[in-house]
């Protein structure tokens, strides 16, 4: 058959969802990332979902050790990593067993057949070989001897067979790149750069990648290859970015825009550590990072730096937020700008440390003693982490308040193409520090009153240590306008109200909510926050496509809510609030606006799929 499928014109498809799965040691995240890059360069729209186990390295070949990377590529605007994968690449039996259930009916399975021998099957808990016992009936299965072909490809290089085997993930990458007509050059360049310092490994990986590609071309397994055309996108320069990197860069941008050095006090914790890693790397921006002894010290140091006039940040996940509660209370009492970034993960307690969840909203809102309000923001997509970091910094600085930013494990590690903003168009968020007294004392002498507020924003003046003549003391005890400790009942009551009013007043300074979908006369409004945006949008679009009128609101500002939110909500017939928790935003909306917001919840450590939300919305319409 000279006229093999592979040589025919590629078949055009709108979109495809591919899931790479293998052992933790198999390098699935690495090839997933590179497949993403190559697709991004092609101009596809894409969303990714990496998933890895909590163990550093669970025993090889076991279900617990399976690591997976899902990518959804499309020729049009997409918002989720896809409901059910179309293609599953399974590097071993455990990967097949763990992941098969997610595959779409009649989906495609590509297995590394070399690994389907007795020991591995047993480790995965298979009693018989699924490749032969009919378990895969209905699926399109390609059995590829990836290990042995990789070994063969590396033989001429003089690489030992055991070492050569490690490159089998690049074989898989080559094969899938071929199937979906990804260009080879960028991947080759990338392998060369990435492994520049380890020649043997570089060459083995290159050989494996070529071999995989060549195998696709020559083996007559595939009827045809596929092509996903570039998506229509705003013109401009793009890069592929995950949420944690976007957040880190957003913080760097905010520090530039505020003309204040950046300070990070943090303690490592999954899935937040990468922000620390990224900022530690970018020291030439004048960034100071402290890997503190614990989360309390992390926020403590950040608070000290904030007091010293730095743009101060602490990053963590749920357990760390819990530990920081007392210091957050102090920051609220001191009224100092501070960013507290929570990359949420599955709880309670250690819970599911590598999985995603949205269950810290009420903790962010209420997790400090006394009446202690603070603003809360949440980005809705990986790239939006960049903007949200800047917006959080703007609010923190302008209102002299700690601000909570709630991202989550899905945003943190998930990636999407991002139209790189023109840095000159970013907002100026610099504030003025006090340089002169703002008061005259009883004896007619100039004085500095650290809690004499701006009448509009209610923000207090900040005088940095080092400013001559403005020496003053601040603290966590209740104080009066002059900053002096006061236990006078009326002063306390007034301060409690002023602190509340200051935060509530931020509503005047944030954009009103905008309705997506059917702004008028909708049958139902779907309200979300954070990382569910993609799935909710997908679900809403599907239900609208069925002819229903559906409105959608997605909140970035969770405290205070946008000023028009109450009116928007009260105008609705039905309100549905999908959340990856047991209904936390719904509680806030019900309490605040007395509207019958109903919850759709998913607490599985996994994001919603658009399909799930389609079903949920349709179900709610029946009520």
């Amino acid at each position: 058959m000279a006229d093999t499928a592979a040589r025919t014109d590629p078949k055009q498809i709108e979109r495809v969802i591919i899931r790479f799965a293998g052992d933790s040691g198999d390098g699935m995240q690495l090839v997933g990332d590179q497949f993403t890059s190559a697709s991004a360069l092609l101009g596809n729209d894409l969303v990714t979902l990496p998933e890895y186990p909590a163990e550093i390295r669970a025993p090889a070949g076991t279900l617990a050790g399976v690591s997976a990377f899902q990518i959804h590529i499309s020729d049009h605007d997409i918002t989720t990593p896809g409901d059910a994968p179309n293609v599953l690449v399974a590097m071993n039996p455990a990967a097949l067993r763990a992941e098969l259930g997610r595959l779409e009916p009649h989906g495609t399975v590509i297995v590394n057949v070399d690994t389907f021998e007795e020991r591995n099957l047993a480790k995965a808990g298979y009693e018989s070989n699924p490749l032969t016992d009919g378990a895969l009936k209905g699926y399109t299965v390609f059995e590829v001897p990836m290990t042995s072909l990789t070994r063969q490809a590396c033989e001429p290089l003089g690489v030992k067979p055991r070492d050569a085997e490690r490159s089998k993930n690049f074989f898989a990458l080559g094969l899938v790149s071929f199937m979906y007509t990804r260009p080879e050059a960028p991947t080759i360049e990338w392998i060369k750069a990435k492994f520049a310092s380890k020649e043997k490994v570089r060459d083995a990986n290159l050989a494996a990648f070529h071999a995989g590609h060549a195998f696709g071309e020559t083996a007559e397994l595939f009827d045809h290859v596929y092509e996903v055309a570039p998506a229509e996108q705003h013109p401009g320069e793009y890069t592929n970015i995950n949420g944690n990197t976007a957040l880190a860069w957003g913080l760097i941008a905010a520090s530039r825009l505020a003309r204040m050095p950046l300070f990070l006090g943090s303690y490592p914790i999954t899935p937040a550590s990468d922000i620390l890693h990224e900022l530690a790397k970018q020291k030439h921006f004048g960034i100071r990072t402290l890997q503190a002894e614990d989360e309390i010290a992390g926020i403590g140091a950040a608070l000290g730096a904030a007091y010293g006039g730095h743009l101060a940040v602490t990053t963590t996940s749920g357990p760390g937020v819990a530990l920081k509660a007392e210091t957050i209370g102090l920051a609220i009492s001191l009224e100092l700008p501070l960013l507290i970034i929570d990359i949420q993960r599955g709880g309670p307690s250690t819970g599911l440390p590598t999985k995603t969840e949205q269950a810290d909203l009420l903790l962010a809102m209420y997790g400090h003693h006394g009446e202690s309000p603070l603003p809360i923001l949440a980005p809705y997509s990986p790239a939006h982490c960049f903007d949200t970091a800047i917006e959080a910094a703007r609010i923190a600085l302008e209102y002299r308040t700690p601000v909570m930013l709630l991202s989550d494990g899905y945003l943190a590690n998930g990636a999407e193409p991002w139209l790189i903003p023109d840095v000159d168009t970013l907002p100026d968020i610099a504030i003025e520090f006090a340089t002169a007294p703002n008061h005259t004392d009883a004896d007619g002498n100039p004085a500095f009153w650290p809690y004499q507020r701006d009448p509009e924003t209610l923000a207090r003046p900040l005088a940095l240590p080092g400013t001559p003549g403005l020496e003053h003391r601040i603290g966590g005890l209740e104080k009066d306008e002059a900053g002096h400790v006061s236990y006078v009942p009326e002063v306390h009551e007034q301060m409690v109200h002023v602190r509340a009013a200051k935060i509530a007043g931020i509503a005047r300074d944030i954009p009103p909510v905008v309705i997506r979908g059917d702004a008028e006369d909708a049958e139902i409004l779907v309200v979300g926050w954070g990382s569910t945006w993609g799935a909710i949008s997908g679900g809403v679009d599907r239900v609208r496509a069925l002819g229903h009128r559906v409105a959608q609101v997605h909140l970035t500002h969770l405290n205070p809510f946008p000023a028009n939110l109450g009116d928007v909500l009260r105008a609705q017939r039905r309100i549905l609030v999908p959340e990856m928790n047991l209904g936390q935003l719904a509680r806030l909306l019900r309490a605040e606006y007395l509207v019958d917001a109903r919850s759709v919840t998913k607490v599985k450590g996994l994001p919603f799929t658009a399909g799930e939300l389609e079903v949920a919305i349709l179900g709610a319409l029946d009520d």
Partner: protein, 339 residues
């Protein structure tokens, strides 16, 4: 700030307008006085000095200093000061608190600020009690102490703060007491001048809840025989006529000896810069303030200071990569254009 010399000040300039609210007779007053008298002697401006404290009687200290100050939360002053000192290396940051604040709830931050050699001066007022919460035993209270929370007597071995600090790699460790202003001022001055973290334990009398705890040592009549002054480069001797001394045996034991009997040449010469544990041995000489107790500087060694090292790394990074270009950063991954 075009002036280059620091204005002449007096104690009054360093005193805030706040009424001092410690119990009459509290040892905290004399520590405050020692600090306020010392400040004009140091080459520093008021606006460049920051006192950071936790919670406790001692921790009210910042309110009384006419400088910048933060009265924070219980135990966390060292952590907060770490961030401030890193962010603003040109400031002079003091950390003030009690034995409970620093060795109980704040113990971890204390040992880490010392280990990291952050440029702060830590003044720990050790009254061997929780004053502000009205008299519970503290981590430095002696075994058997009867308090509200230990009506049958405390059963906890107290920390020896000097040992804790030395065990935590502190580069400057000293002890002084509230009955000797000159000694306090001298030790505080040394601590202030030390680059890196300086830890000073101050024996302080809480006359309400633990009166006389240090009397056996600091009482005028007892000092000669009970206080062993440490002076760098000098033989360690004490007593009204310097008749007693400290000597090291080849069995690795420090002993208090009669100088006449042991011979003056066999008296151990104090070495603050001893890097392998002499200060620690000296800290173990007394098991509590009822035995002859060394005061002064136990250890003073020069190690790289944290904030300076951070600055150095930033400078290196900027040399290597230039001063941070935001537009370039956003393009540092693979990029592509859509037209």
């Amino acid at each position: 700030m075009t002036e280059t010399t620091v204005p002449v000040t007096t104690r009054k300039d360093w005193s805030s307008d706040q009424e001092v609210r410690w119990c009459p007779g509290c040892g905290d007053y004399s520590i405050l006085a020692a600090v306020q008298f010392l400040m004009p002697e140091l080459d520093v401006r008021r606006e460049d000095v920051v006192f950071v404290s936790g919670i406790g009687c001692a921790a009210r200290f910042p309110y009384y200093m006419n400088t910048y100050g933060m009265h924070s939360i219980h135990g966390r002053a060292a952590a907060i000061a770490t961030g401030l000192a890193m962010a603003r290396p040109e400031l002079k940051v003091f950390v003030v608190g009690g034995d409970g604040d620093m060795l109980s709830i704040g113990g971890n931050h204390l040992i880490h600020v010392l280990r990291r050699n952050i440029d702060v001066t830590v003044l720990m007022f050790n009254n061997q009690i929780y004053g502000l919460t009205k008299g519970q035993y503290s981590p430095t209270s002696e075994v058997g102490k009867v308090t509200k929370s230990s009506p049958y007597g405390s059963i906890e071995t107290p920390f020896n703060p000097i040992s804790v600090a030395l065990g935590a790699e502190a580069t400057f460790v000293a002890r002084t007491h509230d009955m000797d202003r000159q000694h306090m001022m001298e030790v505080f001055r040394r601590a202030y001048e030390h680059r890196g973290a300086a830890f000073v334990e101050i024996y302080q009398n809480c006359n309400v809840f633990n009166d006389g705890a240090f009397e056996p040592l600091t009482g005028k009549a007892n000092r000669d025989d009970m206080i062993i002054p440490l002076v760098h480069g000098q033989p360690i001797r004490f007593g009204a006529d310097q008749e007693k001394g400290v000597a090291m045996g080849t069995d690795g034991r420090l002993r208090i000896v009669d100088v006449a009997k042991a011979g003056a040449d066999n008296i151990l010469v104090h070495d603050e810069q001893h890097d392998r544990g002499l200060g620690f041995m000296l800290s173990r000489l007394a098991k509590g303030p009822h035995e002859p107790t060394p005061i002064g500087v136990f250890r003073a060694v020069q190690y790289p200071e944290y904030g300076e090292e951070v600055g150095r790394q930033i400078a290196t990074a900027q040399e290597r990569n230039g001063p941070g270009d935001l537009a370039a950063l956003l393009r540092s991954g693979a990029t592509w254009r859509v037209d």
